[in-house]
């Protein structure tokens, strides 16, 4: 019997959390244990498939934080607890746990980009000895776009945090793009013992990484997570390829040394 890697398995939705108008977190029953930063292929029969990062996982469940932007994701927003989502995966190379362990961790996110690092941040909360310190810069377009409000609160209590909205002004939040806050990271104090994870829209990642370099970070200490069009997630359909690299197999997480030279 040859196994079929594109065969999805039905999983029951146990909870749906409305993060904001356009982003919901779906908790489904599943024994799959992804690595931090990996993604799965989610399907709705008759509609299609979409690659979605695992934003959390635990005993018997998986979380996906989904932004409704099109055919499949809009249809997901019509689902209710008790309905089925179909999954296959987990796929790809996630965050470099070994390179992060015992170091100062910096996480810089834009918008929904917080989802693929959320499970890792939960690990940092639950296992304080895993890293030396955590510094988070999280940016959102506006107040309506804020995600994971409760988690942001507990990060604030336990980690160094900078939360920022692009233009809106609200209490306790900075204003401006995440790039404008990079100079707040005490990179020098980390004495070369740090890992910077950047995840968000392509332009945001590009300029954030450049800003980190400007502030003294080393290329090899920065990781980014790429998003590309995908159809198969198993290195067959070709949609996600850049040069000799398949984002679905070799990524989505890449070290900046490699990522900076990948031109689509």
């Amino acid at each position: 019997m040859i196994i079929n890697p594109v065969m999805p398995k039905p999983c029951k939705i146990i909870d749906i959390i409305r993060e904001n108008k356009n982003e919901y977190t779906f908790r489904v029953e599943s024994d799959i244990t992804p690595e931090h930063g990996q993604f799965l292929q989610l399907s709705i029969p008759k509609v299609g498939e979409a690659p979605i990062s695992a934003s959390g996982f635990g005993d018997g469940y998986l979380d996906f934080t989904i932004r409704s932007v099109g055919k499949v994701t809009n249809e997901m927003f019509a689902l209710k607890p008790g309905d089925m989502l179909f999954l296959r995966g987990a796929y790809g190379v996630g965050w470099p746990i070994e390179e992060i362990s015992g170091k100062h961790l910096v996480v810089i996110t834009g918008g929904t980009g917080l989802a693929p690092v959320k499970s890792l941040l939960s690990k940092c909360l639950n296992e304080p000895e895993f890293v030396k310190s955590v510094f988070i810069i999280s940016g959102f377009k506006n107040e309506d776009g804020i995600l994971f409000k409760n988690d942001l609160e507990s990060y604030k209590k336990n980690f160094k945090t900078v939360y920022s909205l692009d233009i809106d002004k609200i209490d306790g939040w900075e204003v401006g793009f995440v790039t404008e806050h990079v100079n707040k990271i005490p990179i020098k104090d980390y004495e070369d013992n740090y890992a910077i994870l950047v995840v968000g829209p392509p332009v945001m990642m590009k300029f954030t990484a450049l800003e980190c370099l400007k502030n003294g970070a080393k290329e090899e200490n920065i990781w980014v997570s790429f998003e590309r069009k995908m159809s198969c997630a198993i290195g067959k359909c070709g949609h996600c390829r850049i040069d000799e690299v398949y984002v679905c197999l070799d990524g989505p997480v890449f070290n900046y040394k490699q990522a900076k030279d990948l031109v689509d």
């Binding site: 029969p45 008759k46 932007v69 089925m84 392509p202 590309r228 359909c237 040069d243």
Partner: protein, 345 residues
Amino acid sequence: MGFSLSLEKANAILNELKKEYRIYAPKRFEKQGRYSDTDIIRYDEIDSIEEIVTGEKSTYSPKEVLFPITQTILYFTEDEYRETKMDDKKILIFMRPCDINARKVQERIYMGNGGFDDFYYKRLREKVKFVMMECTKGWDTCFCVSMGTNKATNYAAAVRFLEDGILLDVKDEELQGYFADVAKAPFEVEFIEGNETVVELPQIPDKKVLNAIKAHPMWDEYNSRCIACGACTIACGTCTCFTTTDLFYTQNANVGERRRTYSSCQIDGFDEMAGGLIFRKSYADTMRYKVLHKVHDYKERFGENMCVGCGRCTDRCPQFISFSHTIEKLNHAIKEICEQPVSQS
């Protein structure tokens, strides 16, 4: 083991074989070509040796026998997905050496890339045996010798077509069984040793040069020449890309199927993401993406070139874009970039 057969005898054995095998070969489809009164030659099941088109290159590659242009991969109901079934007949495909070598190229992607096997390709591939069609002359757009794909040895049988019969070299033991009452005759298959078109393989030393090539003005002409029809990639025996889509039967909205269909980096939308974000915005970009994959990027990953020099992309392009000319231009661009004085930085 060599055999000499009359057409009559060859057809008799073909009929015997057809009980166990589906037999595919390049076949003529009259007046289906691009221009009026032109034919298309594509792979289909044959009933006789005479049906095989031997004197012309097939318009399309044999890849569609193993990976159909459109293929249903899953059926679904409300709460279940099911694999499509397949009959258990074995398959024989008549192929030229370049096309046999193109199998290896696609299989590095379909079987193994990232540790995953494509279930649908593999289950067909396991049933397939190749009958290599001897190819000693080629055509004007072929450059297999430059690509090192003019020879293939992994065939079950090799055939030379004569006026009134065929010569065979049968390596596969199971196939040999069909020739028990046929007189042996010495036959050693020959290969083409030189093409009209000769291509120098581009050597791109590093990422810096690679990215300089991407930004080189050599690609600009394709903005006005390429019309993004994708004909080149459909005909190419080594292009592997596809897109998966779901559809449902309107009579019963609860059942439907998941299909995959050939896709192409040359057509609009191939890399388009949610929100309309597009990475390769011009046909100069899509052209260099394709060309560099064929003669560089694939090799960086798998150690061999992707292109097998069959020339079908050139044959099919309605805009007369020649792949070998493009490689020539690429070589010039590489030279130009590598000979530039290194900037002090």
